[in-house]
């Protein structure tokens, strides 16, 4: 397939790429920009391992074409920390032991960041944990670390609404 020029802004860095129209955003990030923190799990939008933020909103990078995101602001797990200072979600995942093998973790953390941006949890003071589980249902963890993932997100949410 003939390539087309695509400008991607990833983690506040501009990239000029030549991509086939069939290259997904996920493959562009991993294979062309070597940003391999974003994982390819199912490649069908069912597991959430590829979750990134586009203009602040969480999406499955496997189910969208890179060429469709010309000019958009893309954030991946690599861009969350402030130099050596981890993002509060990253810190909370460590404190709560919210992973085992770690393969889903980038997607879980990016998805959690999207959830906090969406402000859905504010309406769920009495059923916060079920709400976190529902709003994180697009991210599977095959190791079954869900309990601790929910705790990590709960902690960061509590810090934000204080």
């Amino acid at each position: 397939m003939p390539t087309v020029p695509v400008s991607l802004n990833v983690n506040d860095q501009a990239h000029e790429l030549d991509l086939g129209p069939d290259v997904t955003l996920l493959d562009a990030l991993r294979e062309r920009l070597q940003l391999t923190g974003t994982k390819k799990g199912c490649d069908h939008g069912q597991c959430g391992a590829c979750t990134v933020l586009v203009d602040g909103r969480r999406i499955n990078a496997c189910l969208t074409l890179a060429v469709m995101h010309e000019g958009a602001r893309i954030a991946t797990i690599e861009g969350l920390a402030d130099a050596d200072r981890l993002h509060p979600l990253q810190q909370a995942f460590i404190e709560h032991d919210a992973f085992q093998c770690g393969y889903c973790t980038s997607g879980q953390i990016c998805s959690a960041l999207g959830l906090l941006n969406e402000k859905h949890l504010q309406a769920h003071t009495n059923d916060l944990r079920p709400a976190i589980r529902e709003y994180m249902s697009g991210n599977l963890c095959r190791c079954g670390a869900y309990r601790n993932i929910v705790s990590a997100i709960e902690q960061v949410h509590a810090g934000e609404v204080k």
Partner: protein, 343 residues
């Protein structure tokens, strides 16, 4: 993926022109790209319609609302007007897919999504929907997810949408445009039954573009429930879903009622005769059971999906009780009371 070219449409005219030349639209892409990866869809030319400005929600002179075809499912579900006036639609949207997919998927794309029949997705097996005339592998196969109403000897697939079940109950209208101009399609005439042409999911022509979906003023904001039954509590397609809505007068009698079923047929399932049974009655399990009897009168199973008929009967009764009692099914905490307390 099969090779294809990509272009961005900058005007509706340009998009329609491209479609009349055989191009395929892409919006959210969540279903289309999945189908392309599986080689079920093999478009040669993709036209990106995301920049046509069809992503707004506008009030209508008749008190209804016009939902732009490119409005994302998440934005529609979270919109204050939808939450306040059409909570049935907001709940159906929240019952569908995952947060990531709802951020991508559009209103028009939701209407156009294909069935999740395993055999439709498996290019190694015959499928009349994918390759007309080759046969239906689902019939006689694993049929847990398949239709119990309106199926044909050629196809037993179901339409997978939750949003469309609510739009059917709300009597929405789909406005489309093609080379010959625009037309309006009543929601129940948008999707179709498989008959002998299951390759056609709906009545939209290949060269037509969905512009918007209109909601009438009546949103049933007081008495409604969207009840979805699935194999896990979240992020799964419906085995059975029910959109129930009604109005009651001061005497507590039902003056208007809507019931649409999802997960059971090739299109959202409604039956005016079943809804009419409720009119003039006070809400009650005996009446609700009669409604369920009539709605499911013609139901037939393929074997594995026999349980769906009884499941649908119970779900209809429960959803009607929830709507009448102003206790709509929560889309967050979906555990329901034990059957004993609801019989």
């Amino acid at each position: 993926m099969h090779p294809f070219s990509y272009e961005r449409a900058t005007s509706i005219d340009q998009a329609v022109q491209a479609a009349s030349e055989g191009a395929c639209f892409i919006a959210g892409g969540t279903n289309l790209l999945d189908l392309m990866k599986e080689n079920v869809a093999r478009p040669q030319r993709l036209v990106d319609i995301n920049h046509l400005g069809l992503d707004t929600l506008e009030p209508l002179p008749n008190g209804g609302l016009r939902i732009g075809a490119l409005m994302r499912n998440a934005d529609l579900a979270a919109h204050p007007e939808i939450k306040a006036r059409y909570p049935l639609l907001a709940d159906a949207l929240m019952a569908g897919a995952s947060p990531q997919l709802r951020n991508m998927a559009t209103t028009g794309g939701n209407l156009m999504q294909r069935t999740r029949c395993y055999y439709f997705y498996d290019t190694a097996t015959p499928c009349n929907k994918r390759e007309p005339g080759t046969g239906c592998t689902a019939i006689g196969g694993a049929t847990r997810i398949h239709a119990v109403l309106g199926a044909s000897e050629h196809c037993i697939a179901v339409h997978p949408s939750d949003m469309c079940v609510a739009l059917a109950a709300l009597d929405a209208t789909v406005n489309v445009i093609g080379p010959d101009g625009s037309r309006s399609i009543p929601f129940l005439e948008f999707h179709r039954l498989p008959g002998d042409a299951p390759q056609h999911d709906n009545t939209l022509r290949n060269d037509e573009l969905i512009l918007n979906v209109e909601l009438p003023a009546q949103g049933f904001a007081a008495h409604y429930s969207y009840l979805k039954i699935r194999d896990r509590l979240s992020f799964a397609f419906a085995l059975v879903s029910v959109a129930a809505a009604m109005n009651l007068n001061n005497a507590g009698r039902i003056t208007e009622a809507r019931i649409a079923l999802g997960g059971v047929a090739h299109k959202p399932w409604r039956l005016a005769q079943a809804e009419a049974l409720l009119l003039g009655h006070s809400p009650g399990q005996r009446t609700f059971a009669q409604v369920a009897d009539v709605l499911l009168r013609d139901a037939s199973s393929q074997g594995d999906n026999r349980f769906k008929i009884e499941l649908a009967h119970r779900a209809i009764r429960r959803a009607l009780a929830q709507a009448a009692g102003r206790t709509p099914q929560s889309q967050v905490n979906k555990r329901v009371p034990s059957p004993r307390s609801n019989s």
